[in-house]
């Protein structure tokens, strides 16, 4: 196992780790869609809906960011 193999595999792993962005994207899109529905149903509550939606989206983003941190660690420590 030479050095280049480790490097290549680490970079490949970083790429594969970012597949987690798929789930985060779906979750965020779902939250935004439901937020739009809620605004259409109840236009007066738009401010509360917006802040709740942003909070939910930021929470859904977390799983994607975990994978981002793993990818960054792989790239900068091994790549």
């Amino acid at each position: 196992m030479n050095e280049f193999f480790v490097k290549g595999m680490a970079l490949l792993g970083a790429g594969i780790a970012m597949v987690a962005g798929f789930g985060a994207g779906i979750g965020q899109g779902y939250a935004a869609g439901k937020g739009a529905e809620a605004v259409a149903r109840n236009p007066e509550a738009v401010n509360e809906i917006r802040s709740t939606m942003i909070l939910g989206i930021a929470l859904a983003e977390t799983t994607g960011l975990y994978s981002l941190v793993i990818a960054i660690l792989l790239m900068f420590l091994k790549g």
Binding site: S51, I54, L55, A58, E61, T62, L65, L68, V69, F76
Partner: protein
């Protein structure tokens, strides 16, 4: 891969070398500036006479405090006023430090050390509040609810809080700054056509620094107050 070549400050103390990374240095500067500003503004408010017509400064300060208070009320209820100084400071320092990327400095929050310290600080505040409001017995009992075998999960949930808060902030701000770094590197690489970057970069700065910075500052404060509100007595 410039992340290992981050500029840093070296301080020599009796032969020992102290290395301070640029994000941490920026964090210290933001904190000192905010301390001075808050102390000065606090003096202005303290001197104001509540019976007279308020001056312009006092009105602005009051409206800022009211914004923070209205956000906190939904999570903390009647305890909101007690926690305005803590969460208000966190909100303003966080937003300012996220916006530092706009003037070419490294955001303090793109350093995991700064974020982890903030996360651990939240953890300590929340655990202290929980102990104070429930007592030691009630706190330990709370960990075994709703069923005894869920104890490890509950414990893990408590310990995951600082980690998840700090990694969320770190990932968001760092990814923004890396993308901006790549855009500028691309501008450099394209030569004359790099001028096109001047049309793209401001838009991306708006999203990654301004929007992301505000949202993450808001979310950091909101989640902290949410978890704190769960532990407070109603």
């Amino acid at each position: 891969m410039d992340i290992n070549k981050m500029n840093h400050l070296l301080i020599n103390v009796n032969g020992y070398t102290l290395k301070i990374n640029a994000p941490v240095l920026n964090w210290l500067i933001v904190c000192i500036v905010f301390s001075v500003i808050f102390i000065l503004l606090g003096n202005v408010v303290k001197k104001a006479n509540p019976k007279e017509k308020p001056s312009k400064k006092v009105v602005v300060i009051e409206s800022i405090v009211n914004v923070v208070l209205s956000i906190l009320r939904s999570n903390l209820g009647k305890h909101a006023e007690k926690y305005v100084p803590l969460f208000g400071t966190i909100l303003f320092v966080m937003i300012t430090s996220n916006l530092l990327g706009l003037i070419g400095l490294q955001s303090p929050t793109s350093n995991i050390g700064v974020n982890l310290v903030l996360g651990i600080f939240y953890f300590l505040v929340i655990q202290y509040t929980a102990l104070k409001s429930n007592g030691l017995k009630g706190r330990v009992k709370g960990l075994f609810e709703p069923m005894a075998f869920l104890f490890p999960l509950n414990l893990l949930g408590e310990l995951a809080l600082p980690l998840s808060l700090s990694i969320r902030l770190f990932g968001n701000i760092l990814s923004g700054s890396i993308i901006m770094m790549l855009i500028y590197a691309l501008m450099n690489y394209l030569g004359v056509f790099g001028i096109l970057g001047f049309t793209v970069a401001p838009v991306l700065h708006m999203y990654f620094d301004v929007f992301s910075g505000f949202v993450q500052g808001y979310v950091f404060m909101m989640l902290g107050s949410f978890f704190l509100g769960e532990q407070l007595e109603k």
